[in-house]
Amino acid sequence: MNWRYPISVVSGLKLTLFVMLLGVMPSAHAAADQISVENLQAAMRTLNFLESLPKEGIIVVGVVYPAEVPTAKSLAANTAKVITTLAGPNSRTLQPIILSTTDLAQFNGHLNVIFLVAGSSKHPELVLGALRRLHLVSISDDPACVDTNCCVLMIRTVGRVEITLDTALADAVGARYSLVFTMVVKRK
């Protein structure tokens, strides 16, 4: 047989090695101006383990964006749109409200939880003030929020689902998670 491009065993091994190296290389994270539906799904599923959440009724989710970033509002709107398609614990309705970080600082309405879109954690004083005042749980998929201590939960779904719980912030805002959940997640 006259193969023009014969694939030898060595070539096969090289190809295998190349594929594996591709896998070993760090995966690119979702760009800051994109929504990860997987992250949002995981974020809303963590509410199953939030024992301090009221047991019944609609769950109001504040979607918080940084006011100074031009594209952030539309990102928040898209995030809210995805959240409306998801279900809370026991199939409860999730009702998103879009708020800028400055809106959040003055907000006096009812919220159960907030989701911080990328960039919101650049305003830790505004976010933390609201969290403490309104006894809110904050969730984000922006790794920067861990460093600025803005998020009770930071969620990433690159490869595996990784959840980091800020135990000090959870205590400060009165968030109680099931013990089993706190043992499975990373604790900060």
């Binding site: 594929v19 594996m20 591709l22 896998g23 070993v24 760090p26 995966s27 995981a42 599923r45 963590t46 199953n48 383990f49 024992e51 990433r156 779904t157 690159v158 490869g159 595996r160 689902v161 990784e162 959840i163 135990t167 099931s178 013990l179 089993v180 959940f181 706190t182 043992m183 499975v184 990373k186 604790r187 900060k188």
Partner: protein
């Protein structure tokens, strides 16, 4: 006195009493985490991977555990097309199966498989279902239906520091659905080759959010394989086989933090079985169990307690002479655990266990052997950095033997010879490094211990004019040391998981059921014997993934070499034990599955390289016999008629009408048609 006032006061007292009991439950009666206290479904949905407590006692994601572990999910079980648990396990990488008959399979982890395989600890929701008489698992008598299993956790290597004695080769923990969180309601009926007829039903009922029960029942009737069997292997002709089982599981939420669980089970199984001397016998099993457990989340941590009793009745025909063996075994286990966090970086677990185990002597009756076991254990999981964690578990068991009853004339022991105590430390240490989200590396060292079974410890007693045998109080536990490294890597794009591990195991004080002789003034008695040690080196490689959501595939390969260091009288399998020659050097499994709307198709290929098996000799010893390498094919096609009704056809060993896979009779092709209905 005003009756209304009395009634109110009574109600208050009742309420106070209720609160007191609840508090006592929470503080004094902590219970076992195994199985029922965790909402596995919600956690799996969140983390997109199974969660387990079977490695260090605390809940962990499968990718975080400091052990080489396979979790077989409910979907894997369904798509295996298997009618029983061994049929599911035969597709798992690194699992050895010896299929002696339609209902009789011995399972080993990382080799060391043998008839009445004793190195594997098998549990259902944390309750042991292996039989203490010989220390093995009669799979047909396990009272659980396939469709009520949430996941089967296979932990490879010793895990005695968590589970205690006998978790030396590995642990298989079968986790059922929790009726409080999962509603499983189904009926299935199946028929197939070997005159197989089987039925199974599972129903769950929730009483609001406070309580739930799950009840299951199943039955199975079949003829065994009809492939030829040599006269020397056939102690008894093969008979029709059947099984029935019942299981009850209730969970009551006493308050938001305290759960009470009650379980009860019953099973009967009649089957043809390859005995420990490699002769085919007829066995009848009857098992019963009751279990109660409390689980409480409190400021002291996850406090848990459980108590259970298992009863096992086993009749083996023929026994010795005209007397069948009647083994009656009862084991009661009480466990207390507390798992708690210390700061953000430490999880600790402290536990205590008491176990009382007793069995009558047979076929010569009139005495019983028993032991009491106390164990304390601790586990410390330290998150050194965000990427590095260290888990240390240590357990110390103290076993006190005893014997009551008659002393036959010329018997080499007195009951006081059983007044012995063994203390065995076991440990598991594992370092897990996750340099990035997609990689997890493990380094592990562990020591496990295997108790002599009750039969080798004295319950097996033959006193006759021609031959005498007794189990002995002098046999000591075996120990297994395991060194292991492992690497998991996720290739996120094509959704591929690579798993690799390499291990070295050293086992000492290995036991044969016979081989030692003792001369008394009145008789010669044969006893179990310590035959030496064994070393194993092996590698496990696995790849699995999905493609375009329609396809799932997997391939795993285990090369392994075992070197036995046995006393001369036990070499070449003479005493019914040989691991070096009977463990295949190469095991390969591959599977491919396809889904498209209402259709599902799955195929499983298993290859085992040439090896040896053991067969009896006219001199009442055993000898090695070669077994050619073989490949066998299993498969399943399923069609969903409606959302509630499904039809499927599955088969095992499809490539050959009959095929020699062990030293016993050849296995036959099996085909099974199943209709299942969910309600």
């Amino acid at each position: 006195m005003n009756p209304v006032f009395v009634s109110t006061r009574r109600r208050r007292r009742t309420a106070e009493l209720g609160r007191l009991i609840t508090v006592m439950c929470a503080v004094l009666l902590p219970s076992s985490i195994h199985g029922q206290s965790i909402d596995y479904g919600a956690l799996e949905q969140l983390f997109k991977e199974p969660v387990t407590t079977s490695v260090n006692g605390s809940p962990q994601m499968a990718s975080d555990v400091p052990a080489t572990m396979e979790i077989i999910t409910a979907e894997d079980i369904r798509r295996s097309g298997a009618k029983d648990i061994p049929g599911v396990l035969r597709h798992v990488g690194g699992i050895d199966t010896l299929e002696w008959g339609n209902d009789n399979v011995d399972i080993g982890v990382r080799g060391y498989d043998q008839a009445y395989s004793p190195r594997l600890l098998v549990l259902v929701d944390g309750r042991q279902v292996y039989a203490d008489d010989y220390g093995y698992t009669p799979w047909s008598a396990v009272p659980v239906e396939i469709c009520e299993i949430r996941q089967i956790e296979v932990i490879k290597g010793p895990n005695s520091a968590l589970f205690g004695f006998n978790a030396v080769g590995g642990v298989i923990n079968i986790v059922t659905f929790n009726p409080l969180y999962d509603s499983v309601n189904s009926i299935s009926l199946a028929g197939g080759t070997q005159a197989l007829g089987t039925g199974s039903a599972v129903a769950t009922h929730k009483f609001g959010k406070k309580a739930a029960i799950r009840v299951s029942a199943g039955g199975n009737s079949n003829s065994d394989f009809s492939t030829p069997i040599s006269a020397i292997e056939m102690d008894s002709p093969r008979k029709h086989q059947n099984r029935d089982a019942f299981n009850f599981d209730a969970v009551i939420r006493l308050n938001s933090k305290v759960l009470l669980g009650v379980e009860a089970s019953h099973s009967d199984a009649h089957l043809n079985e390859m005995g420990p001397d490699y002769e085919l016998v007829n066995a009848q099993y009857g098992t019963d169990s009751v279990k109660g457990q409390f689980t409480a989340e409190s400021r002291f941590g996850l406090l848990q307690a459980s108590v259970y009793t298992n009863w096992l009745r086993e009749t083996v025909t023929p026994g010795f002479g005209n007397d069948p063996f009647h083994f009656n075994n009862r084991v009661t286990v009480a466990e207390v655990h507390d798992i708690f966090k210390l700061g953000t970086d430490h999880i600790l677990r402290i536990a205590g266990e008491y176990r009382h185990n007793t069995e009558n002597t047979t076929p010569t009756t009139g005495a019983s052997v028993h032991y009491d076991l106390f164990a304390v254990s601790g586990m410390w999981n330290w998150k050194i950095t965000s990427a590095l964690s260290l888990t240390n578990a240590l357990r110390v068991d103290q076993q006190s033997l005893g014997r009551d009853g008659i002393i036959p004339s010329g018997y080499p022991f007195t009951n006081s010879d059983w007044h012995r105590t063994f203390t065995e430390p076991t440990f598991n240490t594992g370092l897990v490094w996750k340099p990035r989200d997609t990689d997890s590396m493990r380094v592990m060292v562990s020591r496990g211990a295997e108790l002599p079974s009750l039969n080798t410890g004295g319950a097996y007693l033959v006193v006759s004019p021609s031959y005498n045998f007794t189990g002995s109080p002098l046999v000591e536990p075996s120990a297994v040391i395991n060194y292991e490294i492992g690497w998991d890597h996720v290739i996120a794009g094509p959704q591929v998981l690579l798993r690799a591990s390499a291990f070295h195991q050293h086992s000492n004080n290995l036991l044969a059921l016979e081989g030692e002789f003792i001369q008394t003034s009145g008789a010669i008695y044969e006893l179990p014997s310590d035959i030496g040690s064994s070393d194993a080196d092996g590698v496990e490689l696995g790849l699995k993934g999905t493609l375009r959501k329609q396809y799932r595939w997997g391939v795993n390969y285990r090369p392994e070499a075992i070197s036995d260091h046995f006393v001369p009288s036990a070499q070449n399998g003479a005493l019914a034990v040989d691991f070096q020659h009977t463990t295949p050097h190469h095991l390969l499994n591959a599977n491919l599955g396809w889904t498209n709307g209402k259709w599902e198709m799955d195929g499983y290929l298993k290859y085992q390289s040439a090896t040896h098996g053991l067969q009896p000799t006219p001199e009442d010893e055993t000898t090695l016999t070669p077994i050619a390498g073989f490949a066998s094919l299993d498969g399943r096609v399923a069609y969903k008629i409606t959302n509630r009704m499904k039809w499927d056809i599955s088969g095992q060993n499809l490539s050959h009408a009959s095929q020699i896979q062990t030293s016993g009779p050849a296995v036959e092709r099996r085909v099974l048609g199943t209709m299942s209905f969910q309600f």
